[in-house]
Symmetry: C2
Subunit: 276 residues, 2 copies
């Protein structure tokens, strides 16, 4: 624990956090959260959303770090750079993921601009979406389903938990920040469920069409790893059509919302009309 | 994802959770939390403490699962049985740990018997103690310090984070549940800092004196793994004396507290006077 240790490259949690901060990713989930808060039309919603938005991104980041581990999806590349366990080591990657999860809940609980009730609701929503009944449960199912041929319904169920739950949580959390009515929250949840699935289907489409350079992660990997994909099960064209249909349905759910929802609408569009 | 899969031994998060539930451990931290709530003398404190007590145990359990992983301390035995990654696999152990952490915060946030402010304070306290400035940070320092000779002060600093922070958090969380005054919370924190260190020193003492059968985990492992221990740095007798002194100091801090604190006093005693 001499001071020189902190300077040693490749060692230590602090160095790993610095490494992560240099490849921030697209920050889709925080953008969704902030856009949902704004869509509710609560004038202060957007400025109050910073801490919960950061929290949902921390959960997403920790999940990528743990999913990339050799014992899980064993990915070497992420966001165009070596994954954390490659750049550092597995112990650091496990610990950084664990610490980021704790930090997410600490951030929300400590945000004194929000009422205690809002913070409690946000913690409960994020914890549920990221735990056994959400993201973690979905990743477990995903790993177990490797080398099995799934039906489209089974694949949807896995993705609804693995990636959909956190996307939906981001939207509902925006609603909590903006003090949405129960009806508005239900709508945000329905939007999240549809766009989350569309997003995942488009991911598969892009995975087939891209190479690793433009993707920033290993391309075609899911199919190669024996994982079911929407493209494999439905065909490329039908998969893309299904995603666009889901997107149209999600936008229709908020068609009566005002101009405050325009940023949200734009984000939903970007989720399915991504650069290939 | 066919139904037969759930019956296949060694597979799945649910089976791993069932496996864990069959070796519950000593549940020291929940006992501390409940005893602290009772010590404050708030009549309802004890019954309100169940969810936060479970939450702190979930955090402790997840940390053991992740610390036992091959990339971390690489332990095969825990509580007299194979560790989770040995009984199942590494992916399951990582995911179960991740899910238990989320569950801990969900449990607190969802406990409607507590006020929203109490729940927020509990989440913040537990998240801080288990994150980068607490348990996770300490485990990172511990792994980096392997094969180095530390001073007693350096070893104390590591353990204050790695194991002390969560023990202190359990006591302070009991205070939050019992609606302790700021003074009472400060006392509980001081008690936790002292007894947490004493507990760790005694752990080293027991590790030297025991064999694996009575310990339920691999004995003498820390020293063999090149980790500094209090016994190695201070000698067996001096280490034991230091632990008992810390215990006496912790009890002295609550000497003016009433009979409501007797369960807490008994627990503190058991933490340093454990069966060898």
């Amino acid at each position: 624990m001499d001071s020189s240790q902190e300077d040693r490259p490749g060692m230590g949690i602090s160095a790993a956090l610095a490494y992560l901060s240099k490849s921030p990713g697209k920050r889709l989930r925080p953008q969704l959260l902030i856009a949902a808060a704004r869509a509710i039309g609560n004038a202060r919603g957007e400025s109050l959303a910073a801490a919960p938005a950061e929290a949902v991104e921390l959960i997403h980041t920790y999940s990528l770090i743990h999913d990339d581990l050799p014992a899980m999806d064993d990915d070497d590349m992420r966001r165009g750079r070596p994954t954390l366990h490659v750049a550092f080591d597995e112990a650091t990657a496990i610990l950084v993921g664990d610490g980021l999860q704790a930090k997410a809940f600490e951030l929300i609980a400590s945000e004194e601009q929000l009422t205690a009730q809002q913070r409690v609701d946000l913690v409960a929503c994020l914890a549920r979406a990221s735990g056994f009944e959400g993201m973690v449960g979905g990743q477990g199912m995903d790993i177990e389903a490797t080398q099995q041929t799934l039906t489209v319904e089974q694949l949807k169920n896995i993705h609804a938990l693995k990636t959909g739950a956190l996307i939906t949580a981001a939207l509902v959390m925006g609603g909590i920040v903006g003090q949405a009515s129960p009806d508005q929250k239900a709508t945000l949840k329905a939007v999240g469920d549809k766009i989350g699935l569309a997003f995942q289907i488009i991911d598969d489409v892009i995975d087939v069409r891209s190479d690793s350079t433009t993707l920033g992660k290993t391309a075609g990997k899911d199919a190669a790893a024996g994982k079911s994909t929407y493209v494999a099960l439905m065909g490329l064209e039908a998969a893309e059509t299904a995603a666009l249909d889901l997107y149209e349905e999600s936008v229709a759910l908020i068609k009566n919302w005002g101009v405050e929802a325009d940023v949200l609408r734009e984000l939903l569009a970007r989720m399915v009309k991504r650069d290939r």
